[in-house]
Symmetry: C2
Subunit: 163 residues, 2 copies
């Protein structure tokens, strides 16, 4: 049976440059709720930044771990499964590899996620909860598939063109 | 020609639960630099949270936009291409769809990234820079492929088992 859409999740993010490598990214949620907040990224001095904020990969991994943990807690409540002491650990590994026309190319190697949880519920119900939470995690679902990513470039005062 | 590894990027992140839906995620970079910092996520009151921190998707999108912007700036410097006024906008769209055993499943629809940039360099060099930066962006490279994501579950005092 074809899955039916229940609701949309739509964000618009705008990043501007500040300082050497600091970026200030304003994320505006359009649906299913509305909020706009700014988060800043930077790099350490070793990378040429000024260390005024965490690096982009720290934000990315916080999004992954935080989204999965949130869904485990929200879905446990909806399924009436009592849980406590949830701890999620993620080991993430990428490689920078040679590229003919760049300093390097990024190559994701893999993600290992360990979930520790206390519950009096039967193990099969806890396993089903974890499975449901993985399917319901917007970030994990994104990493689990090859995504449609489109780009436009607007150079100087020209028109935005697909690149 | 097979790409050769230049360096590894390895992070370990540990998330713990605090409050209703707040998660405190400590991200430890293992390579190519070492740093450990905590970032907290929460949900709005409408979602059952206490609104003490941005939502996980805001972190995720900040990681995506921030990583791409950083690589555009770092690679421009290495390629000796003068740029200024870089602005990156990303529209991200997911759907929550029906699931037989969960409140919903997450379905990523797509990402549209607009790059605005000022440069006196020839357009083909700027386009090559954008292409190189996309390949060098660890987050975009992750979203552009289906990733290997492994999970273990440790229930109560049991052993961690693959799930």
């Amino acid at each position: 049976m074809e899955a039916e859409k229940i609701f949309d999740v739509i964000f618009e993010s705008e990043g501007v440059c500040v300082g050497r490598l600091r970026n200030e990214v304003t994320n505006s949620a359009r649906a299913p709720f509305q909020v706009a907040r700014m988060l800043a990224t930077d790099e350490g001095k070793f990378q040429g930044g000024e260390d005024t904020a965490p690096t982009p990969l720290e934000f990315f991994l916080t999004g992954l771990v935080g989204c999965l943990m949130t869904q485990i807690r929200v879905f446990a409540k909806q399924k009436k499964i009592g849980i406590s002491d949830l701890v999620v650990t993620c080991r993430a590994h990428w490689e920078a590899v040679s590229d003919p026309d760049a300093p390097y190319a990024a190559r994701p190697v893999g993600f290992e996620i360990d979930i520790a949880i206390q519950s009096d519920a039967p193990e099969d119900r806890v396993r089903a909860l974890i499975g449901a939470s993985r399917r319901g995690c917007f970030v994990e679902a994104t990493l689990a598939q090859k995504n449609d990513i489109r780009h436009t470039l607007r150079l100087n005062q020209g028109e935005a063109v697909a690149v």
